[in-house]
């Protein structure tokens, strides 16, 4: 368990130490670290689901919760760990080629691994304050990474992201303070027990609002979404991929799911708020994406829209809906990272992000072009890619729960998604290339490899729906959400 934190932290420090040596050594070390993280996360997932929704607990410094702190991995955490580390692996591979155009590559790698350690920490944290600390580690590394290129726009974007993120963190901290004063314990399992004893105290609702505000801002739900368009469009491509694909989900959606479903016990009011936020995000993100001419800003607003889907599914709160939410998280991580990485390749080739000036990507760089098409088709919901299945499940879950209006809205937003993706990308992808195409750089080999691997994953994602695979991969996560209130009992039971 602690390996998830030790490996990236060690890698981060080694990058800093090895600042003077050549790129090759650092690239190899970072690659090894990423691969080992990915492998270890898959092993953890197998273990967690093999013991059928059991919880793995590993204490820290010998004190058991609720007195000490521990690292806890249950089905949901294991699944998210796999998602995070797989995406991180491919992004590391990609950035080995992409970041050559920036100086001080070691700073990038060091900060990147700090961010990964923060994200992993949020996933394995078992008490509130650990969650907060690792959240801050990840967020601060992200603020720095967004500003990495130090162009004027990147600095502006990073500043706005930082201020909004800090306000959100302040609210979360305030919420933690109030919660502690009520429950006198920080461990998530302990808090769950204390709240189960007195569920409808006013202070719990007050704290819920504070937490929702903070975490919804991290998750970029409307109306807390404004920073996303700035941060994700101005950051370097691998960082956009990590932010959009991973950071939002873990810091925002996972935290909401963990706190509200496992610890507070899902109440009807919270679920309705989640549905409302989800619907707002889907529609606003979709509508705003239409007017964009910057390719990365388009993807950023699309992320807002897709996270809205996940929030909607979490709010509907039936087992099928949880399945759809978790699966959509996975699909969206893979596909959004793929799209952002490709946008980085396109930016490198054409030196602009403006879609009206780009044409002929498929002719000039077939791998980039075709994987972009596959990614866009997956998110728009074209079979047989994974995105089609996850949207199908979410729509069916809304219908099954008796919300036909919500399902109709989801269908409408799906049509909008397909429209804005292909309306914007088709003239850029096809059509004869511009005249100066021959003078443009080709795409580095390793960037192609990582992008193709992600595309293959997007195509293979529906295999996870076959019953045998599903049991091993996703069911644990779904169980963790469905039986949220059993979290405390399971954790404390596993300790004894």
């Amino acid at each position: 368990m602690h390996l998830f934190l030790i490996i990236p932290l060690a890698a981060a420090f080694m990058m800093a130490i090895l600042a003077r040596t050549g790129d090759c050594v650092r690239d190899i070390i970072s690659g090894l670290a990423a691969i080992s993280l990915a492998v270890f996360s898959v092993l953890t997932l197998m273990a967690a689901n093999f013991f059928h929704s059991a919880v793995i607990v590993k204490s820290f410094a010998g004190f058991m919760p609720p007195a000490g702190t521990a690292f806890v991995v249950d089905g949901l955490s294991a699944f998210m760990l796999v998602t995070v580390n797989t995406v991180a692996l491919f992004v590391v591979l990609y950035s080995a080629g992409y970041m050559n155009k920036y100086t001080d590559k070691w700073k990038f790698q060091s900060l990147f691994f700090l961010m990964i350690s923060g994200i992993n920490g949020v996933l394995v944290a078992s008490d509130m304050f650990n969650l907060y600390v690792f959240l801050e580690i990840a967020a601060i590394s992200a603020y720095f990474l967004v500003a990495f290129g130090t162009e004027a726009e990147e600095l502006e974007a990073s500043f706005k992201y930082a201020v909004m993120g800090t306000v959100a963190s302040a609210f979360i901290l305030l919420g933690i303070a109030f919660l502690y004063s009520h429950t006198s314990t920080l461990s998530l399992a302990g808090i769950a027990q204390a709240i189960a004893a007195a569920p409808s105290a006013r202070i719990v609702q007050f704290v819920s609002v504070l937490f929702l505000m903070g975490f919804a801002l991290k998750a970029a739900l409307v109306p807390f979404h404004a920073w996303l368009a700035y941060a994700h469009s101005s950051a370097p491509a691998p960082i956009s991929a990590m932010l959009s694909g991973v950071l939002i989900k873990v810091l925002g959606i996972y935290a909401i799911a963990r706190i509200f479903f496992s610890v507070f016990g899902a109440s009807a009011g919270i679920c309705q708020i989640l549905i409302a936020l989800g619907v707002l995000s889907m529609i606003a993100g979709g509508v705003l994406a239409f007017g964009q001419s910057d390719i990365k800003r388009l993807f950023a607003y699309s992320t807002v829209s897709q996270i809205g889907y996940v929030a909607l599914a979490l709010g509907v709160a039936t087992p099928l809906a949880f399945f759809g939410a978790v699966f959509h998280l996975f699909n969206h991580s893979i596909v959004k990272s793929l799209l952002f990485l490709n946008s980085g390749s396109i930016e490198q080739m054409f030196r602009t992000r403006d879609l009206s000036k780009i044409s002929g990507v498929v002719a000039g760089a077939p791998v980039t072009g075709y994987t972009s098409i596959m990614g866009a088709m997956s998110i728009s919901g074209v079979p047989p890619f994974g995105g089609f299945w996850s949207k199908l499940i979410i729509i069916f879950a809304c219908l099954q729960a008796g919300h036909p209006v919500l399902a109709a809205i989801a269908v409408l937003v799906s049509v909008m998604t397909m429209a804005y993706y292909f309306a914007a990308m088709t003239p850029a992808l096809f059509g004869a290339g511009i005249n100066s195409f021959n003078a443009v750089k080709k795409v580095h080999g390793i960037m192609n490899v990582s992008v193709m691997a992600l595309a293959v994953l997007a195509l293979a994602a529906p295999l996870a729906l076959l019953p045998e695979m599903r049991q091993r991969l996703i069911d644990g996560a779904v169980q963790a959400l469905v039986n949220g209130s059993a979290y405390a009992a399971t954790v404390l039971g596993a300790i004894k």
Binding site: Q205, M213, G269, G381, P404, A407, A419, F422, L429, A432
Partner: protein
């Protein structure tokens, strides 16, 4: 031969398609041979399945793939078209061999999947896959117009795909199953009507009925000839009307009200599309609008609700695929040799491309509904169906008049096409022209021959074998149509006229050069056929409709885009980039949540 032919028919072409894409373009001989073999095998397989029907394929304990009367003959038709167009493409495709044949094969496999699917989810998967393949096939042309056309097609078809998901979801919560042979819902509540129309919308978009038709002329204009023949002409119609038939007859029990909607859509489609086709200057766009119009006939037939009308609609679907793809193939041949699709610049090709001309003439006569070709038989059956449905609604006169009016305008526009492209004086733009190679004219002539056979021998071959088993009930034909006798009489009459002309007609005529006002003009510009109907636009109503259509006002895609932009602009202005604004939204959101939670 094989114990499980159905899944092989579905998956083998898809796998073969992947293989074709992976092979580099240099090995084009191998690719062509491979594709030819696979499509021929598919044709053989589907004939085999047709004889053995009904055939099932089980996964677990539910029938996932099912071949019954309706799907059996459509499968044969689909694979026959794939085979013929593959042969045609041997001569016509000039680049991107691997990708082109690969996509063709994958489309074939996915179509088989849609046709044989018994599980709604399986059908949905293959249906959406087809939309993606259409997009990729159209974009093989790599021009800007092709990109825009492909995008519009994908968005319209893919968007209605999502609507179909909603319909299928509604069916699922009403019946708790996805197997199509176990679902039979009466149309009695809002939920069932919504589910029915959601799926019907998806089939309309695929077939190209109004108001979802706007992708068809664009794709027809900018895709290559063989792609246009494969997809919008034949496959999409076959699959779209197959879905409509399946939904209207097997999944739901339709009522007079839903049939009324179908009839209205069919009639409007026929008339409006044919009027647009009259004034087109581009060969393929004209054919594209006609494709839209013919779909109207099919929907009219299915909507009539009588056995003979439905049989007529299905037969028209088959016939339309035959002569429409023949026409598109001729357009491909003309483009390859003359280099242009602009009717103003073509002319006089009949002398140089006799086979193409012959195929085009036969197909044009068939599409216009001239006896004894197949178009006549199916249209006649549809008219009878409408007349028979007179008992259920008063509006049958309107539908009948619309259908006949459309038929008249169809032949008018095809006269224009034939004259402008093939007859008259040769245009000066065109250099030396020769006929296309046999790999291209053999499929055209085969299709033309099928038009003739299905017309003359309609009651012995296609109807009893294919169509009538698919329709429940026995049709009662009004009046008599002795096809063979009529054909013999027509031939005798034509021969008599020809003999008269040859031997007795010439002697009394004096042939003189053109002159104007007593003087020979220097150079009389040739009259192109496209100006025949320009006066139609002077009729104010029709002119306004035509202008609106070309401006894209009936285009659902454009309307949708404009509607969304209406909302986008104010939202974008709200995001004015100033940080405190965003923070204030956050607080408003928080306050909203507070109020909600505390005052529930």
């Amino acid at each position: 031969m094989f114990s499980d032919p159905l899944p092989i028919l579905v998956m083998a072409p898809i796998a073969a398609g992947f293989a074709c894409i992976a092979v580099p373009d240099g090995m084009k001989g191998l690719i062509k041979l491979f594709t030819g073999i696979v499509t021929a095998a598919c044709l053989a397989g589907s004939i085999f399945v047709f004889r053995e029907k009904p055939a099932f394929w089980f996964y677990g304990d539910t029938a996932v793939l099912l071949a019954d009367n309706l799907s059996g003959f459509i499968a044969i038709a689909v694979s026959a078209f794939a085979f013929l167009i593959t042969i045609y493409s041997f001569g016509s495709v000039e680049r991107s061999f691997g990708r082109y044949f690969g996509y063709v094969l994958m489309t074939l496999g996915a179509s088989m999947g849609v046709i044989f699917a018994n599980n709604l989810l399986v059908m949905l998967v293959f249906w959406g896959f087809l939309a993606a393949m259409l997009y990729l096939l159209v974009n093989l042309e790599n021009t800007k117009e092709a990109a825009l056309a492909g995008r519009k097609a994908l968005i319209i078809i893919g968007g209605t795909d999502a609507v179909m998901i909603f319909g299928i979801g509604l069916i699922w919560i009403m019946t708790d199953t996805f197997s199509m042979d176990m679902i039979r819902l009466p149309l009695d509540s809002i939920l069932t009507y919504t589910a029915y129309f959601c799926i019907v919308i998806a089939s309309f978009a695929k077939a190209g009925a109004m108001p979802f038709h706007s992708w068809l002329p664009d794709v027809a204009e900018s895709a290559s000839g063989s792609v246009a023949a494969y997809l919008p002409a034949s496959l999409d119609k076959l699959l779209g009307i197959y879905l409509l038939a399946r939904v209207s007859f097997d999944l739901f029990i339709t009522t007079a009200a839903s049939n009324l909607v179908l009839l209205a859509v069919g009639a409007i489609t026929i008339v409006l599309a044919v009027m647009m086709a009259l004034v087109q200057h581009n060969y393929r766009k004209l054919l594209g609008y006609h494709a839209v119009s013919q779909v109207g006939y099919m929907i009219l037939g299915i909507g009539s609700g009588t056995v003979i009308g439905i049989a007529g609609g299905l037969f028209h679907m088959l016939n339309n695929a035959i002569y429409k793809s023949c026409l598109f193939l001729t357009s491909g041949a003309v483009e390859k040799k003359a280099g242009t699709m602009d009717l103003d610049k073509l002319g006089g090709l009949a002398k140089f491309m006799p086979f193409t001309f012959l195929a085009c003439v036969i197909a044009s006569l068939a599409i216009s509904g001239i006896p004894p070709f197949n178009g006549f038989v199916s249209k006649w059956m549809i008219y009878q169906g409408i007349i028979e449905s007179a008992s259920s609604s008063r509006l049958w006169v309107v539908w009948l008049c619309a259908a006949m009016f459309g038929s008249a305008l169809t032949i008018a526009s095809f006269m224009k096409l034939l004259h402008a492209a093939f007859m008259g004086r040769k245009s000066d733009n065109i250099k030396e022209i020769r006929e296309v190679g046999p790999s291209m004219y053999i499929p055209m002539l085969t299709l033309a021959l099928i038009c003739i056979i299905f017309g003359i021998f309609a009651f012995s071959i296609p109807l009893p074998l294919f169509i009538l088993p698919a329709v429940s009930g026995v049709p009662a034909f009004i009046g008599t149509w002795g096809a063979v006798l009529a054909t013999i009489l027509i031939l005798v009459g034509a021969a008599a006229g020809f003999i008269l002309y040859r031997f007795f007609g010439r002697s009394g005529l004096r042939i003189v050069d053109n002159f104007v006002g007593g003087e020979a003009p220097e150079k009389l510009s040739r009259v192109s056929g496209t100006e025949f109907y320009d006066t139609i636009n002077d009729i104010s109503l029709i002119g306004r409709i035509n202008r609106a259509e070309s401006a894209g006002n009936f285009d659902l895609y454009n309307i949708g885009m404009k509607a969304v932009n209406f909302f986008t602009i104010p939202l974008q202005r709200l995001h004015n980039g100033v940080l405190p604004t965003y923070l204030i939204w956050c607080f408003l959101g928080m306050v909203g949540m507070f109020l909600f939670l505390f005052f529930r």
